[in-house]
């Protein structure tokens, strides 16, 4: 026997403990000693606000009725959390950099800071939370009823269900107001509440474990024993309905809910102090859920085995220990269930009240009275707090109304799933916000409206049907009696589970509308900017670009606004910080960066949309701001283009510089060659000149020379003069060739004859040196268009070069001839030293000589090959050095044949 008053007293005592814990934590945080409070462990425990009394009581009920289906509710979130790296991490990163305060703020902020979306999301969230809160009230009421059933003397036992629920709601409202709305925090973080929630998480897990262990080992005698006893009592664990469409649907819904539920968003994203806490939560939160559901099935099976079929399976967690007369344990279980219900109510109503005040009350206040300069300081702070308090009371009252209207009908799990489906309507918009750049404000709005409408019609309203004639008629016959509009069988598709049906149609309509409208419309500038910030969150980092380039506002204006929103103290802090950072105090104009900072600071209190509206009004007006954004975007574009051009130019400059360097090197080489040539010419000219001068001096001074000697000297002078003339002729010849002057006329020439003439000319010199000229396959009747003298000159030059430079024992030159493609090629191959690799490139340059040879007397002017090449080039042919055998060099003269030329023409 538990005294009813004891139960009530324990519940109150628990609330007081919670209160004390929250208060103490808040004080700690205020003093800056929040190391433990901001730990990943507390964060993870707080996330488990997901496990409400639905988990605590409802899961057992669900397991008793529908087998393992209840697990789907935890598998969805598990998948989301183990995949945190790709979804949640981005969500948290964006929310931190954009100072997001709620799920409504997140969606509206992404879609152009749209007020309409924020309002719609808030409405959906409030409406969706209503059944959920009713669920918690129902759980508390039912559990109280079970606990009090044995003691009719208690005062509480005389109240009916509705009164109990109302009292509970009132107490919860009071607690939430006391802790959730004490101040308007810069980041909307509530340290005290989070600590209390974490504590509750521990309590509910411990309570469930205690009951579970008792049932399995106390009542069942081990895991196997539990199932055996159940089987003996004729209870088998049915699973024939499992893992069908409902399983898939619920997994999807719960995966969506873990992100979209306002309270989950509040804890997971807004209250997140450090992105790295997600790492811990990624495995610890699934582990927590695993722990919470470990004993669900044994409890359900035992309950079914021990109790008559009429017993409420939702309450097995309580009734099993009670039936075994375990009073302390059942009281503990009651507190566990109580804590899971209260934690949900507290966080939910805080999250929702923030949304209501930021997205509905503030914008309305801004519009109705105008945010004029005459309103008192701290006005907005007070407005925010008051509206939040009223919102909390309203939300809890709505929850109570739902509970009252539905007469507490329906199992806990079913009510919870209605809520899940409602908030799941945010999922397409959130996914689009994170990953799809082209999703537009209109698209998001359309998707939300469609999804919301289908949800209300197909799932929310039918829940009221059992007590309402009109609604019952709707559900059975469709709106206006049109059968295809039956809420649970749209378009005549019957036989699907109502939940699956509603989820399918609402999410499908939602996504289709979002995608379709997004494709048909375009983002406005603010929308584009926000889209980039969200989708590229990791690439951009947390850079907060300013949308106010030039501001017309003074610091004083801004301060007035900020103090009204943030409160005088916080505003002073922010501005003092800015003053401290600012070097030049002379200008009263705030920097764009500061205004952007201020906007995110304000957004932390009243949401992005409202903050944007307020600051835009003060700074320069909406349109100006948008124009600035466009201008800024254009400037960015221009800068990008400019830098790209600059890059191209740099590349060009580099290649030009490279070319210049090469040219310079060539010039230097040429210059060197020219110097060498000049010294060579000087030398060449000087040698005969010296000889001529000295011999003529001898002739002049020595009159007594014999006529033979005189004759000899004069001959020498003559030959030296001839050499000089020849050299000068060659230089003139070459420069004329290079200038392109035609010094001869071309006629049809027999190339064989020209070659033979050259060989004939060279034969005496060759014989002098024991040099063999092997003339093989001399061409006959091969006509080229050339000057026969010039051609011979080239051949002579090549042959004499070969003779001059050949130092082998049996020197020879082999002249061979071949034809191809209308060209005739004559090769002059010798067995001399060949051309050194370094000389190959320059051998045809002017005045370049083979460096290998030491006998300077043998060297000519160094012009021979240069002249030869010029001549052959003029004849449209080629003179080149081709690779020879192991030793020796091979020069090849290629000339076009005359006959071919004519044929070609």
């Amino acid at each position: 026997m538990i005294s009813g008053n004891l139960v009530i007293l324990t519940a109150f005592a628990y609330i007081v403990v919670l209160f004390g814990l929250a208060y103490f934590s808040d004080q700690r945080a205020r003093r800056g000693r929040n190391g433990f409070l901001r730990s990943p462990l507390i964060y993870t425990l707080a996330i488990s606000v997901y496990c409400t009394s639905w988990t605590f009581y409802g899961a057992v009920g669900s397991a008793a009725n529908n087998g393992l289906e209840f697990l789907a509710v935890y598998i969805g979130p598990t998948l989301v959390f183990v995949g945190w790296w790709f979804g949640l991490r981005k969500l948290v990163r964006i929310s931190h950099s954009q100072r997001i305060t709620s799920v409504a703020d997140f969606i509206s902020s992404r879609f152009g800071k749209s007020g309409a979306i924020a309002v719609l999301v808030t409405l959906i969230a409030v409406l969706a939370a209503t059944p959920y809160i009713a669920l918690q009230l129902k759980a508390i009421t039912s559990s109280l009823r079970v606990m009090l059933a044995s003691d009719s003397g208690s005062f509480a036992a005389n109240l009916d269900d509705s009164s109990l629920a109302l009292v509970t709601a009132a107490i919860m409202a009071l607690f939430t107001i006391l802790f959730g709305t004490r101040n308007v925090d810069a980041n909307e973080q509530h340290h005290g509440v989070v600590a209390a929630i974490a504590f509750e998480a521990v309590i509910k897990l411990a309570a469930l474990f205690a009951v579970g262990l008792f049932v399995v080992f106390g009542l069942g005698g081990g895991l196997t024993g539990t199932f055996e006893r159940a089987a003996e009592a004729g209870v088998t664990f049915v699973s024939d309905r499992d893992f069908g469409s409902r399983w898939i649907t619920i997994t999807l819904l719960s995966a969506a809910a873990i992100v979209c539920l306002p309270r989950q968003f509040q804890i997971t994203v807004v209250e997140n102090a450090d992105e790295s806490h997600l790492r811990t939560a990624s495995w610890a939160f699934p582990l927590y859920m695993l722990g919470m559901s470990l004993f669900t099935v044994p409890i359900a099976v035992m309950g079914k085995a021990l109790f008559a079929s009429g017993a409420d399976p939702d309450m097995f967690v309580l009734t099993l220990p009670l039936s075994a007369n375990q009073q302390v344990l059942s009281l503990f279980a009651f507190i566990g269930g109580f804590s899971s219900a209260t934690s949900m109510i507290i966080v939910s109503s805080i999250a929702l009240s923030i949304m209501v005040s930021n997205h509905i009350v503030v914008p309305v206040a801004l519009r109705s009275q105008g945010f004029n300069a005459n309103s008192r300081p701290e006005g907005v702070t007070r407005l925010l707090l008051t509206s939040r308090r009223i919102a909390i009371v309203t939300i809890l009252f709505l929850g109570f109304t739902y509970f009252w209207l539905t007469n507490g009908s329906g199992a806990l799990a079913i009510i919870g799933l209605i809520s899940f489906t409602g908030v799941a309507q945010f999922l397409p918009a959130i996914l689009a916000a994170l990953f799809w750049r082209d999703a537009t404000r209109q698209g998001a709005l359309a998707g939300l409206i469609v999804g919301f409408a289908v949800w209300v019609y197909c799932l929310f309203l039918p829940a009221f049907a059992p007590g309402n004639v009109i609604l019952t008629d709707w559900v059975n016959n469709g709106l206006f009696g049109w059968a295809w509009l039956k809420p649970q069988a749209l378009f005549g598709i019957e036989g699907i589970d109502p939940l699956v049906h509603a989820v399918m149609w609402s999410l499908m309509g939602n996504s289709m509308a979002l995608i379709g409208v997004s494709i048909a419309t375009e983002n406005d500038p603010v929308g584009r900017l926000q889209a980039a910030r969200f989708v590229d969150a990791f690439r951009l980092g947390s850079s907060n670009q300013s949308s106010y380039i030039r501001s017309s506002a003074t610091l004083n204006d801004l301060f007035r606004v900020a103090s009204r929103v943030l409160g005088y103290q916080r505003a002073t802090q922010v501005f003092d910080q800015y003053e401290a950072d600012r070097r030049d105090r002379e200008t009263a104009e705030p920097s764009p960066a500061f205004i952007a900072d201020l906007e995110s600071e304000l957004a932390g209190s009243i949401g992005a949309a409202s903050a944007h509206v307020i600051l835009s009004q003060v700074v320069s007006g909406d349109t100006d701001a948008i124009e600035e954004v466009i201008r800024m975007a254009d400037e960015t574009q221009q800068i990008l283009e400019y830098s790209q051009r600059l890059e191209n130019t740099t590349t060009e400059l580099q290649s030009t510089a490279e070319q210049l360097r090469t040219a310079n090197a060539q010039l230097r080489q040429l210059d060197q060659q020219k110097d060498e040539f000049l010294s060579q010419v000087s030398h060449e000219v000087r040698t005969p000149m010296t000889a001529i001068r000295s011999f003529s001096e001898i002739l002049l001074t020595h009159k007594d020379l014999s006529s033979d000697q005189r004759q000899q000297f004069v001959t020498t002078i003559h030959s030296e003069s001839m050499r000089l003339t020849a050299l000068l002729d060659e230089i003139l010849d070459l420069s004329a060739l290079e200038r392109g002057e035609s010094l001869w006329t071309d006629t049809d020439t027999d190339i064989g004859a020209a070659l033979q003439r050259a060989v004939d000319v060279c034969t005496p010199i060759a014989q002098e040196r024991n040099f063999t000229i092997i003339s093989e396959s001399v061409p006959r009747d091969r006509i080229v268009f050339a000057n026969s003298d010039r051609l011979s000159q080239v051949f002579i030059n090549l042959i004499t070069n070969a003779i001059k430079y050949n130092d082998s024992d049996a020197p020879f030159i082999r002249i061979t001839c071949s034809e191809s493609d209308g060209h005739i090629a004559i090769d002059f191959t010798d067995n001399g030293p060949g051309v050194a690799p370094v000389d190959r490139d320059i051998i045809f340059e002017k005045f370049a000589r083979g460096r290998g040879e030491g006998d300077m007397s043998e060297s000519g002017s160094g012009l021979g090959l240069a002249i030869s090449r010029e001549i052959i080039n003029r004849l449209a042919g080629r003179l080149e050095l081709v690779p020879a055998g192991e030793t020796g060099a091979c020069f090849r003269v290629t000339l076009p044949l005359r006959a071919e030329q004519q044929a070609a023409q």
């Binding site: 989301v80 183990v82 995949g83 898939i248 699934p286 695993l290």
Partner: protein
């Protein structure tokens, strides 16, 4: 990479027809086989998630150290 595939592997294992394989009369540890299967996969997912975040953290710390010493 594992971090990316983990939720999808989990999804496949938890979804029909895969999960249906275990939804039968067989008993494991005295309970219907489906129970150990679901909890087993669940536990494995948690374990792998733990390892993944553990090694990610190690890798990031190593990277930070490298950057730190590079300066």
């Amino acid at each position: 990479m594992i971090a990316f595939f983990l939720p999808w592997v989990g999804l496949v294992l938890f979804m029909p027809p895969f999960v249906k394989l275990f939804d039968n009369e067989h008993k494991l540890f005295g309970v219907p086989a489906i129970g150990p299967f679901v909890f087993g996969v669940w536990g494995a997912l948690i374990a792998i998630a733990f390892l993944v975040q553990h090694f990610l953290r190690k890798a990031e710390q190593a990277q930070e150290r490298d950057e730190g010493s590079g300066r």
